[in-house]
Amino acid sequence: MNIVVCVKYVPDAQADRTFSQDNTTDRTNVDGLLSELDEYAVEEALKLAEAGEGEVTVVTVGPDGAAEAIKKALQMGADKGVHVLDDAIHGSDAPATSLVLAEAVKKAAGGSPELVLMGLASTDGTMSVVPAMLAERLGLPQITQLSSLEIADGKVTGRRDSDAASDTLEAPLPAVVSVTDQINEPRYPSFKGIMAAKKKPVETWSLADLGVDAGQVGLESAWTKVESFTARPPREQGEIVTDEGDGGTKLAEFLAKAKLI
């Protein structure tokens, strides 16, 4: 089975993340990495490929540094990478990203892929909408947020867990599937994988290579725009209740004031 995994290069969630002058995510002053939620999609693809035959292709849309996200996936064991790199993409919103991804996935798979895997959400934008949009663009069924996955008889079956219930979902292949961080334990690259990754093919495509008009993407065409932002206020010191025999009452009053009880 030939699998395409869409991954995103994101600012390290442990670093101080902020915005650039044009109110887009600052990617230059913060270390970036493969979105940790995408590691689960890569791992699932590798497991499927190892269980049968087939190839895992990793696709990313992003700035120069996004090559690092591809490299990490190749080190984990993916077979080849595609990096869509074009200055016009800067500032694209989710609909535009899904447009670019759709064309890239089609081209990477030589028509229609058998399975497209994605993470639950990116760790920077955390919108979770791109898998659904991509499925729409590709005209494929979507099953999102799976915490288990099985492929058999030309179908993909999986479980989606929510607070109230667990659903079992099924779709004919080809399909677009997003997976949660419950589905597996992503492997670390091995040193051999690191050395092997250097010899794996990575293609870099522009919008023109994909036949996408630059006017359809980028900050100017985005449906939404960040007008302004305010930094999260620093955490304030909590209230200390001194127990003078009435600690329980004071605690209850505090919780009542916060409308927690």
Binding site: Q75, Y188, P189, S190, I194
Partner: protein, 391 residues
């Protein structure tokens, strides 16, 4: 604060990145609890093994990483900065492979190395005995060799890391009553009949590295498990220790590095007399000395490693690296406790654990007194008897 490193290849640079990622995601979250409860981190060794970090300095054809010591040791240092017990375990495992790789026959290497380097196996190194520590030539655990070359082992080894947890025991045993010339090296599988283990030693630190006695009661080993020639054991053990000392030097450097970083960041935050204590030159200079000693430790082990990688003699430099790096670790971790003051003396901060962990590095793999013996012997052999001649 990542240590700036000059690495020979981009593969090595990526390897350091991988090591840091594993240290951050797998080691750092586990170390406090595992050390406090003396739980050996066997599953962590599995992760390291699958990532290829347990076999770095050994040949690729047998599953190793084919990396020079210069690179392997910097990986050990990075691991130690996150978890000393794990770094010591990695160094010990490497030590157990060394005799087979260096002195084993082609068929022994072909049979034994793939498992040893495969990432799932962990080895133990059985050299010391209760009455034979620095004086290894006085060891008494005996392998009685039959005419067909097979042997039967009886006796007890002490202070053995991974005892009872290892998959094989690289053992140095008395085969003849001829002192240091009567010792031979064997690889004993963990499931050999007659092998049993004492209860874990109650140590000052490194609680994640369980150490116990290994008892051999008429343990049979086949002839093909003897590594090198009969009677070659002492020189094999000493050669292995030259390399092993570099592992300990690198680990001690990583420990010192963590202590410096902890002390410096604490000193910047801790306010007394209306300002951060780091703003007092008396304390800032203490931090500077800690940093300088750590950098010196790194430089000495890297110099010895580069000599080894170049195929040149490095015994003296390995002893110097072990002496300098472990003394530095002791001094730097002790000073870290001082910088943290009362907080440093509590178990709420890792400074006191670092200090306890540092102590043993001055003792194992050759006490620092033995290192001085090695260094002085080399030095006095190197300089001539002539007046000031340096030839």
């Amino acid at each position: 604060m990542p240590v700036e490193r000059v690495l020979p290849t981009t593969d090595a640079a990526d390897l350091i990145e991988l090591t840091r990622e594993i240290a951050r995601r797998e080691l750092a979250p586990r170390v406090e609890q595992a050390e406090a409860s003396a739980t050996p981190p066997r599953e962590v060794f599995g992760t390291l093994g699958r990532a290829g970090l347990l076999s770095l300095p050994y040949p690729e054809e047998y599953g190793g990483g084919g990396q020079p010591y210069e690179v392997y040791l910097q990986v050990v240092e990075e691991l130690a900065a996150a978890w000393m017990s794990v770094a010591v375990g990695v160094s010990v495992h490497s030590l157990t492979v060394f005799p087979v790789d260096k002195f084993g026959s082609d068929s022994q290497r072909k049979v034994l190395l793939p498992d040893m380097l495969g990432g799932e196996f962990l080895g133990a190194y059985c050299l010391s005995e209760r009455e034979a520590g620095s004086d290894i030539a006085s060891m008494r655990t005996r392998a009685t060799v039959a005419d067909d070359g097979s042997a039967t082992i009886s006796g007890t080894k002490s202070w053995i890391s991974h005892a009872g947890k290892a998959d094989y025991y690289t053992s140095f045993l008395r085969t003849d009553d001829t002192g240091g010339k009567g010792i031979s090296c064997f690889v004993v599988p963990a499931d050999a009949p007659g092998l049993s283990f004492g209860s874990p030693e109650r140590k000052m630190g490194l609680d994640g590295d369980p150490v116990a006695e290994v008892h051999y009661e008429k343990v049979p080993v086949s002839a093909d498990r003897m590594i090198g020639e009969r009677g070659q054991g002492m020189s094999i053990a000493l050669a292995a220790l030259d390399a092993g000392r570099l592992g300990i030097a690198a680990a001690a450097t990583g420990l010192a590095q963590s202590a410096v970083e902890l002390a410096a960041s604490y000193a910047k935050e801790r306010v007394q007399f209306g300002r951060a204590i780091a703003d007092n030159q008396g304390l800032a200079f203490l931090l500077a000395d800690m940093d300088a000693q750590t950098a010196a430790a790194r430089a000495t082990y890297l110099h010895a490693a580069r000599l080894k990688d170049a195929g040149r003699p490095f015994s003296k430099e390995a002893a110097i690296a072990k002496l300098i790096a472990t003394d530095a670790a002791m001094k730097v971790t002790t000073d870290a406790v001082q910088v943290l003051g009362g907080a440093g003396y509590t178990k709420d901060f890792p400074a006191e654990r670092f200090m306890r962990e540092a102590k043993v590095t001055q003792i194992f793999e050759g006490t620092n007194q033995i290192q001085r013996l090695v260094i002085s012997r080399h030095l006095l052999r190197q300089v001539g008897n002539g007046k000031g001649s340096n030839a």
